[in-house]
Symmetry: C2
Subunit: 308 residues, 2 copies
């Protein structure tokens, strides 16, 4: 079992979907990643920042999940990062209604001293230079660095993104972003080009169509569990990444075969995340439920063909 | 091994893709279905119609693949059905440039006498009443009837489509069509509604995102093989259906477990179809190549998770 350092936002989200809307609730990449990784009982620390308006009960909740919060700076006079979004009927597209950076604008991540030897680092979606700063604070190169990013940084900080991409092992990115980053429509070709930019492993997330893992000539395809209804997609990508990194931190096996399992765990946890608003489902998720759903994933994808 | 009756178009296609364009080449649903099913060496018959302009070499080609052509009517004074399409850069959308029904306009399918006892019938995309007419000619209800259809019939012959849907076991349909037919966005809910319309098994084709097989509470998800480039998608859906039906005709096992294998075979064969223009790849496909690609499908989707 390796220590896991998670960097990302801890935030307020306000979400509107065809099923309803929320006030400001707990959100943020580091939150979703941490909750997903907590399923594996790894020793993890969140590196983030919140304002004086951030309720103690949310910090307590993270601590209850065995997430070290000493790396979450509290800026008393500041306000917590806030995001608000409206999902359309198909749940695959959304409008951002508000993005208030607040304390995130001046965020300087500080890795707690006793996590600088962590073997696994999960760089949640943030400015590439913030992600890089976390890596530079580690005592030595971690065994595994996973990076999540989004099109916003391709539009606004592409050079910096390329800089951090040279220092990581795995990138998780969605299909449209992979196409934007490479100018290639074929995801096979896009993955190869991204590989040449640094990361040995490329995970392309396709939402309801699942996720692809690429490494050299190997490809693995994990479908998303077909769901009757997606209630709220917020945090699904972070939950996927947290499940992926958490599983690898727990197992310490970085073979391609084991990475497949990490993708399956990520997909499984993400399938829970979308069932309720925000973090609600993840906070109350039992180990037994995860096992049951892993069995569903097996039934969904496994087959026995006799080659004749 | 069961006899297989295939009904569908035998046609001329003219195709334009970002990679090039063709003159009039061999196409049609029954052609692609028959070529795919021929991989299993089943005793199959194509029921279709062509005009006097249809080259004998194409009929010979079908016969060489052990497809009985006595059910392909030749209307000497007529012209063969012609379709022309232009694929856009993403290969997921296309414009139909021409559809000339010609001899298809008055097509009355006639099932050859010695195939009226066939246990498996594959109803390729055609007017629902034409599909129904084939079923009515069978000596008794076949063990398995697979139907392929498209949005055109939902727009123009919905009542007739519902009529034939009550007589079939499996429907293959794409995701947008499933949504159109049911008014449901969730494919899980859509599949349940389609099930209530007749077919016990519902296969939803998602193009580059693979295919889903639904039966009662069981779901199986076969991804599409991620390809560097899709050269020409024409016939991929028919090839999928032909692989599916051909495998089931060969194995005569209609269990859900074996239907999974049929979906994998269908996906495997479709992954070849798109590599070249029209039928070119399928005509020259070797059994060995299919086996190799099935292994790739296994590597792509199979995993071993120890539940701890």
């Amino acid at each position: 079992m390796s220590k896991l350092v998670i960097v990302g936002t801890v935030a307020f989200d306000a979400i509107e979907t065809p099923f309803g809307k929320t006030d400001k609730i707990l959100g943020g990449a580091a939150t979703f990643i941490g909750l997903a990784a907590s399923q594996f009982h790894v020793d993890s620390a969140a590196v983030s920042v919140v304002g004086g308006d951030f309720p103690k009960k949310y910090l307590d909740l993270l601590e209850d999940k065995n997430i070290d919060i000493s790396g979450i700076e509290i800026v008393k006079e500041g306000k917590t990062f806030f995001w608000s979004g409206l999902y359309h009927n198909d749940m695959n597209s959304r409008d951002t209604l508000a993005t208030e950076l607040n304390v995130l604008a001046d965020f300087q991540p500080v890795v707690p001293e006793n996590y600088k030897d962590a073997k696994v680092v999960m760089l949640g979606n943030l400015h590439p230079l913030t992600q890089l700063s976390v890596l530079e604070q580690m005592n030595e190169k971690p065994k595994l660095v996973v990076l999540d990013t989004m099109n916003f940084w391709m539009d606004n900080a592409l050079q910096d993104l390329h800089k951090v991409m040279k220092k990581i092992d795995v990138i998780t990115i969605n299909d449209e972003e992979a196409r934007q980053l490479t100018g290639e429509y074929s995801l096979v070709v896009a993955a190869r080009k991204i590989h040449e930019m640094g990361p040995q492993y490329v995970v392309i997330k396709k939402g309801e169509h699942g996720a692809l893992l690429f490494h050299d000539d190997n490809v693995f395809y994990a479908p998303a569990l077909p769901l009757e209804e997606v209630f709220d997609p917020t945090g699904a990508g972070d939950t996927f990444a947290g499940g992926f990194a958490g599983y690898l931190a727990k197992t310490e096996d970085l073979s391609f075969e084991n990475m497949k399992n990490a993708v399956i765990y990520g997909s499984t946890l993400a399938s829970f995340c979308v069932e309720k608003f925000g973090t609600e489902r993840m906070v109350n998720l039992e180990n037994e439920e995860v096992h049951k759903r892993l069995q569903e994933f097996k039934a969904l994808t496994q087959f026995e063909i006799e080659l004749t």
